[in-house]
């Protein structure tokens, strides 16, 4: 991503902020301003809770440039609790432990590094839900 591309979307990526359609109430991520479900304007900010389940996944053995550091890694379609699907990497998990339906939660991680000198891109990944503290 170029600097302006990264900056424009960095808040959404760091905080998992999307939109809610004021007409049909669909929750939208990524934010897109026109609701794809009812085609009404949708610019109302909505913060996602960051929890969801794995809808599908793949183990990427051949990583695109800039992503070699974590390869092989798992990518997934995550169904967020509030509805939408998003595409993300999974982290803190072994590939053989991933399954469709696995509960996951959002964490912020380094996404990609162009070089030692370059901008570090931070964004969302998902990991298996941590067990909460014992009551």
């Amino acid at each position: 991503m170029s600097i302006p591309m990264y900056w424009r979307t960095s808040h959404q990526r760091l905080a998992l902020t999307g939109e809610v359609c004021p007409t049909c109430e669909a929750k939208l991520f990524p934010p897109r301003d026109i609701c794809p479900h009812c085609n009404s304007p949708a610019k109302t900010r909505f913060d996602f809770c960051g929890r969801g389940t794995v809808y599908s996944y793949s183990l990427v053995n051949v990583a695109p440039r800039g992503f070699e550091r974590c390869a092989p890694y798992v990518v997934a379609l995550v169904a967020l609790e509030e509805g939408p699907l998003l595409t993300a990497q999974l982290t803190e998990t072994d590939p053989q432990d991933v399954f469709i339906g696995m509960p996951v939660e959002m964490v912020t991680r380094r996404m990609r590094e162009g070089s030692e000198q370059g901008l570090i891109e931070y964004g969302y990944k998902f990991r298996p839900c941590m067990e909460r503290a014992e009551a």
Binding site: S10, H11, L14, A15, D47, R69, C70, Q89, T91, E92, V107, T108, R109, R110, M111, I120, Y122, K125, M130, E131, R132, A133, E134, A135
Partner: protein, 351 residues
């Protein structure tokens, strides 16, 4: 009079830990660099994953602290991160953390640096900022992915982890500040110059004139100023660069092994530098009871110590379980070998 205390009552209203899940056993460092010799100063150390750094770890600790504090992140007047491993030499860690947790834009974001004392330095300043009435809440984080030259004795201990503390008004506190002492002198025990990947250190010099002088002085002067003896404290936690130093500091000050046990994490996670005593304090808050007094002393090379006395309040029990306990992070362990460690921590020359 060395005692520092704001005129307003202030305290910790939320805290959160983070330790990455990977562990490098000391035996792996010995296997690769010191076969036959038993130099291991800890059992294992926590290692950040390939997609983790001080920014990402600070964000998770901050989210845990916010979960316990239950305040709107926009009310944080300051977000301060102390570390010796900020991912950028120039470009603030704190602004990224503030953006991620929703504290921007009206926030005093800043990065702190004082070797292993950078976290408590930020905490000390946060207490002052809130105590002066400038802002109701301030976030102070001590977090590190500590660097060490392959084969150096530091490689056994230089670890990753840390904790975040939200400072707020005394009536919301889970632990009230009773007073603090900061003690610093010029001391060349450890440094890293710009452009260098790994620090230099003074070996045995780092002990007596450095760690012990500052740690013991800050602790002693704080106790004297407040009129305490070690028996007045339920717990004490010191900076933990290795297995021996914090234990010896406790003995010399008159604390029992029982008083420091719950906050002593170095054997299991190594030295998390700016996160070290901050994590130890978090581990104590996980088990402390209302009315308990905690002595908390950091140490940072260069050199200085901040010593705090915390009085645990009735609010702690209710907030403790709103986020994962420190022990949860300490106990989740995935061992890695030296090769994986070398890959994760960028120790292989790729180009």
């Amino acid at each position: 009079m060395p005692l520092m205390k704001p005129t307003m009552d202030v305290g910790i209203i939320g805290y959160g830990a983070y330790v990455p899940r990977y562990r490098l056993p000391a035996s792996e460092v010995s296997r690769v660099w010191h076969p036959g010799g038993d130099r291991a100063p800890v059992e294992q150390k926590a290692v950040a994953g390939p997609d983790e750094d001080t920014v990402t770890m600070s964000i998770e600790a901050a989210r845990n602290a916010l979960a316990r504090a239950e305040i709107a992140p926009a009310r944080l007047g300051a977000v301060w991160v102390g570390s010796e491993s900020h991912p950028y030499a120039v470009k603030p860690t704190s602004a990224i953390v503030a953006e991620a947790i929703g504290a921007t834009p009206h926030v005093l974001a800043g990065d702190w640096q004082f070797a292993c004392k950078a976290g408590t330095e930020a905490l000390q300043a946060a207490l002052a900022l809130v105590g002066s009435g400038m802002t109701p809440y301030a976030l102070a984080i001590g977090m590190d992915t500590a660097q060490s030259r392959p084969g150096d004795v530091l490689e056994y201990t230089a670890a990753a982890g840390g904790a975040a503390y939200i400072v707020g008004p005394g009536d919301e506190a889970v632990a009230l500040l009773q007073g603090s002492v900061s003690f610093a002198t010029e001391n060349p025990d450890f440094w890293r110059r710009p452009q260098q990947n790994y620090p230099e250190h003074g070996g045995r010099f780092t002990g007596e004139p450095s760690y012990f002088r500052h740690t013991l002085a800050a602790a002693t002067e704080l106790m004297e100023a407040l009129g305490r003896t070690p028996q007045d404290y339920a717990y004490a936690v010191f900076h933990q660069p290795n297995r021996r130093f914090p234990r010896e500091a406790a003995v010399r000050l008159g604390f029992s092994a029982e008083q420091i046990k719950a906050g002593l994490l170095v054997d299991r996670i190594g030295n998390a530098y700016a996160g070290s005593s901050m994590l130890g304090l978090g581990a104590l808050l996980d088990v402390a009871n209302p009315g308990d007094r905690v002595l908390h002393v950091s140490y940072g090379s260069g050199a200085g110590s901040d010593a705090f006395e915390w009085l645990v309040t009735d609010g702690l029990h209710e907030r403790r379980h709103r986020a994962p306990l420190t022990s949860y992070y300490v106990n989740r362990v995935q061992e890695i070998d030296y090769a994986t460690y070398a890959r994760y921590r960028n120790k292989l020359q790729m180009e």
